[in-house]
Amino acid sequence: MVVILGTPNADSSEIYAVTCSSGDPTWAGPLAGVALGLPVYHILESEVKQQIDPVLYEQQIGLSEMALDAASIIGAMLRARATPPAAK
């Protein structure tokens, strides 16, 4: 199982990515302190993009790709995947 995010900015991407992998960093929801350990990627990351039909990707995601700050989102995803599991 892989979690794919479509979040609109770096902050939200990092929060949701860490929530699905290491545990809710805000300690607000049911996944606080729960490290699911799931691999998490963003729809704008090349690892995901290269597995999708380019025509379909352009049709569904092209506009968002141009509108969103992809570089900062990808940076946030890299940080999130490097975050160690939260202490229980």
């Binding site: 979040t7 609109p8 900015n9 902050d11 939200s12 929060i15 949701y16 805000t26 607000a28 049709q59 569904q60 995601i61 092209g62 506009l63 968002s64 141009m66 509108a67 969103l68």
Partner: protein, 484 residues
């Protein structure tokens, strides 16, 4: 479809109401669930509530009631909650920011079933102030009654027949009784939400009647587009808040009905009202929406975590008068209605194409021809701490990206387009209220002064939240300066 200019409906006026309701935050959906799980959350919430003076001096609230123009926020230092405006007025050009104690009185005035009990000393305190309110009458004040004793309030609360109403965190000033012993659709918390929605819509409508020059008796139809769906357990959403608000506003000649479409109900209702006026069926249609009490404190955890005040402490409503072309008011371009049809697909791209490029193409306009786009205008200071991002900014960049794809602007100019044709988010996160309509009165004012020619109002609805479809919805219209 082709319309003669004189057939196009106009928006005569729009008015707003904000109610500062910090002691009702505990009854918001999220806070009430968290308090039930852990009672200590109430103290945490109470320690992060704002005073009325702070809410009044909060720049985004002043934009909502017309004290500031949205773009004025660009020159207010951030965080906005840390930079109070000097000498803020309660009454802005488009509406007021009402304090909580007076609102409790208005709840009592709008209560047709003796469900709102207010304490007798408190009732005496607010009577004088409500008597000075320009939209309330002597008949309204009679409905306040004399109030109840503290003992009577405590008795109802103790036996579980009512929920308490507080002021300044700890002072018990009233209670709200359950409407039925067993029906969850008539519990005190649900009825509080519904009655709050009604009275805020009704006061907005009273203000609109004054502003539009269309007296209450001349309104012939009311479209309610607030989020609350009233009813009983056999038909939980089957009621009609439009007529309830109209009754309280004195619109005796009007009938009405509610429109439901999640956050895009107000824009749907405005386009429908335009169609009904253009058809000749009705002449003066009031489109009204009350508040969403359930959304108080919705993102409070993010605010508390950052040690900010809980900014979702206001209830919001609006009312807008759609009528026949008077040769002055801005027109709704019925030949440029954007609609998200069932087969369109739910990607952001599909929705934006349906709402923005398709309707503009129909009338031969480019994206750059629209002076301002009003989209989801959520205040980013509310949404960003909980990871929801800057919603209007994302929308404006999407519209700008569409302009770039169509070759109207170059890609490096995305931010310039977004800045010029967009605006900072300023609306309370009251669901339907935040979707485009907070800019209506501002646009009307700018068109009247000749500073603006056109604006597009677009809204999206998350139909999937109701779990019966994966779809979204969306609708848009172009408002244009009257060229008659």
């Amino acid at each position: 479809m082709h319309f003669q200019t004189q057939q196009l409906p106009v928006i005569r006026a729009t008015r707003y109401l904000l109610v500062h309701a910090p002691d009702l935050v505990r009854y918001g959906s999220k806070p009430s669930r968290e308090i039930e799980r852990n009672a200590a959350q109430l103290d945490l919430i109470n320690s992060h509530l704002r005073s009325y003076e702070e809410a009044l001096a909060y720049a985004p609230n002043q934009v909502y009631v017309g004290g500031l123009y949205p773009d004025d926020l660009k020159s207010v230092a951030v965080p906005w909650f840390g930079h109070a405006l000097e000498n803020p007025a309660r009454h802005g050009e488009f509406g007021e920011i009402m304090p909580e104690d007076e609102f409790y009185g208005v709840l009592r005035i709008g209560d047709s079933f003796d469900m709102v009990w207010l304490e007798e000393n408190f009732t005496a305190e607010i009577r004088t102030r409500l008597a000075a309110h320009p939209l309330l009458t002597a008949e309204d004040l009679k409905k306040l009654g004399d109030g109840k004793s503290l003992g009577q309030l405590n008795e109802q609360i103790k036996k579980g027949a009512a929920i308490p109403l507080y002021l300044n965190k700890h002072r018990l000033v009233g209670c709200f009784l359950h409407g039925h012993d067993e029906d969850p659709a008539l519990s005190a918390t649900r009825l509080l939400e519904n009655l709050a929605c009604k009275v805020i819509a009704a006061l907005s409508l009273r203000n609109l009647n004054v502003a539009s020059g269309i007296p209450a008796q001349a309104v012939d139809f009311i479209l309610g587009c607030g989020e609350e769906a009233i009813g009983d357990r056999y038909n939980p959403g089957g009621g009609n808040l439009a007529k309830a608000a109209g009754e309280m506003a004195g619109c005796v000649a009007a009938s009405g009905v509610d429109i439901k479409d999640f956050c895009c109900a107000p824009v749907q209702a405005l386009t429908m009202a335009g169609g009904l006026v253009a058809s000749g069926l009705h002449s003066n249609i009031a489109v009204v929406a009350g508040c969403s009490l359930a959304k108080l404190g919705m993102k409070y955890e993010g605010h508390v975590r950052k040690d900010m005040p809980i900014l979702e402490d206001v209830l919001a409503g609006f009312a807008s008068m759609v009528g026949v072309n008077d040769g002055q008011s801005p027109v709704i371009r019925l030949d440029a209605i954007g609609r998200h049809n069932i087969g369109a697909g739910s990607s952001q791209q599909s929705i934006m194409e349906k709402l923005v490029t398709e309707p503009l193409t129909k009338i031969g306009w480019k994206l750059c021809d629209v002076d301002k786009y009003a989209t989801e205008l959520h205040n980013p200071e509310v949404t960003e701490p909980s990871g929801s991002g800057n919603v209007p900014k994302t929308n404006y960049r999407m519209i700008a990206a569409m302009a770039a794809i169509r070759g109207e602007i170059s890609r490096p100019d995305l931010d310039v387009f977004a800045d010029t044709h967009g605006m900072p988010g300023f609306s309370p996160t009251q669901g339907h209220i935040a979707s485009a309509i907070p800019f209506l009165a501002h646009a009307q004012k700018k068109m009247a002064s000749g500073e603006m020619s056109s604006a597009m109002f677009l809204a999206k609805g998350s139909l999937f939240l109701g779990r019966v479809t994966q779809m979204s919805d969306g609708v848009s219209f172009v408002l244009e300066k009257n060229r008659a």
